[in-house]
Amino acid sequence: MLEFVDTAAEAVSRITDGATVLIGGFGNAGQPMELIDALMDSGATGLTVVNNNAGQADAGLALLIKERRVAKIICSFPRQSDSWHFDEAYRAGEIELELVPQGNLAERMRAAGAGIGGFFSPTGYGTQLAEGKEVREIDGKHYVLESPIRGDFALIKAYAADPYGNLVYRKTARNFGPVMATAAAHTIVQVDEVLDEPLNPEHVVTPGIYVDTVVGIPTGSGVKEREEREALAAGRPKPCMATKTAAELAAQK
């Protein structure tokens, strides 16, 4: 059931110890930093976290790992120059790591959201990461059987939500968000804008059916576009082509 809440703390309040939490973002783009901070404050522990990375520097996911609140992480690229908290926890044997090629990570969550029980992926065949997994030759090509990754919760960041929970994203901040939204039992979204009117149904990226909790947290994403729109509304320069819809482009011909 869709709900709009006022604070990040309220948004993550259902997350309990031992939950599996899918966390969106690739680098800083699309990373739901305020939701992660709220999860930190919530005290939930023994978590399994699915994210592309394993936290950076002294913020967000890295702090959760520093505090040993993450029992297991499923990710594609934990080792970064500033992933010292993960590095320490890993070397101390205090965090379990499941390393998954990035595309298999995305596809395994897509499978969970799409009700697929497993799929044969060519990625990773013949490598260490396929060890112990079922392999099969299909039409002369080798594949590895991969299983779905489901979340109890997803924490994602979108650009805007309409009153029906429909979401749009900004540029490469879209990344894992739409897939994670489908793969979790309860999807929690932070958005820069909570809209009063419905989005154009043709432009919706994540339909509201996948969204459970929305919290509006302006983070500055899309400020430039917004200024351009306001300038346009005030009768100033014409909009750049990139904001026109197909119908508008067609009409001006």
Partner: protein, 235 residues
């Protein structure tokens, strides 16, 4: 929208057995189903009789309708100027678009179904077994041209699959079976049967809970289905 949870109606599962003297009309039956659909639900209504359930879903209930051909949030059938050949439902009937609608492609639409994101799907049936097997795509007649459409995907996709049907055929044959004799659409997928004469809750155990009887006594129901074990709801 968080207040919606307070509006949730009493669920059917906790309703005690009740009965009336006359069978339900199709409209009455559609209303019974609509009443059982929780506010805020995402629902797929099959082609034909199940479509009539939408007549009894009030806007305040904020139920969103899904159509397999790639849309959430369609409204009533389109008329006159509203007709748009690019905006149709699974029955290929022109429909309208409600605020909050969204479009997506076929793989995404069936992923939404198969992934268990729809709360309720209402389908017609030739036969349903006591354990929830559904037969609604083929009568298995030799020489008939088979056609399945989205029936098998719908049958197993929703959190709850309801069947809306008459309890007996026009010839008087039973449609609730110990085991279906027609080709199956899905195994163990139906959770409830809404029919003119009975509302039945199914369970993998095969014990059928009778929530409502209309124009049929419990003994008559049992007599007509000697190979099925029934229990009265709340008993």
């Amino acid at each position: 929208m968080s207040e919606m949870s307070e509006q949730t109606t009493e669920t059917a599962d906790v309703q005690a057995f009740r009965s009336t003297d006359a069978p339900l009309t199709q409209d009455e039956l559609a209303r019974v189903i609509a009443d059982d659909i929780a506010p805020g639900s995402f629902v797929n209504l099959g082609i034909g009789q199940p479509t009539t359930v939408s007549n009894y879903l009030s806007p305040e209930k904020k139920v969103t309708l899904h159509t397999e051909n790639g849309m959430l949030g369609f409204g009533p059938q389109a008329t006159g100027d509203q007709v748009d050949e690019d905006l149709i439902n699974a029955g290929k009937i022109p429909v309208t678009e409600l605020p909050g609608a969204s479009y997506f492609h076929h793989a995404d639409s069936f992923a939404m179904m198969r992934g268990g994101h729809l709360d309720v799907c209402v389908l017609g049936a030739y036969q349903v077994s006591a354990t929830g097997d559904l037969a609604n795509w083929s009568t298995g007649k030799p020489g008939a041209i088979p056609a399945v459409g989205g029936a098998m995907d719908l049958a197993i996709g929703a959190k709850d699959t309801y069947v809306m049907m008459d309890l007996f055929t026009k010839k008087g044959d039973r449609k609730l079976m110990a085991e279906c004799t027609f080709p199956l659409t899905g195994v163990g997928c139906v959770s409830r049967i809404y029919s003119d004469k009975a509302v039945l809750l199914l369970d993998p155990s095969g014990v059928v809970t009778v929530r409502e009887l209309h124009g049929l006594t419990f003994e008559e129901l049992q007599d007509k289905h000697p190979d099925v074990r029934f229990e009265k709801a709340g008993a």
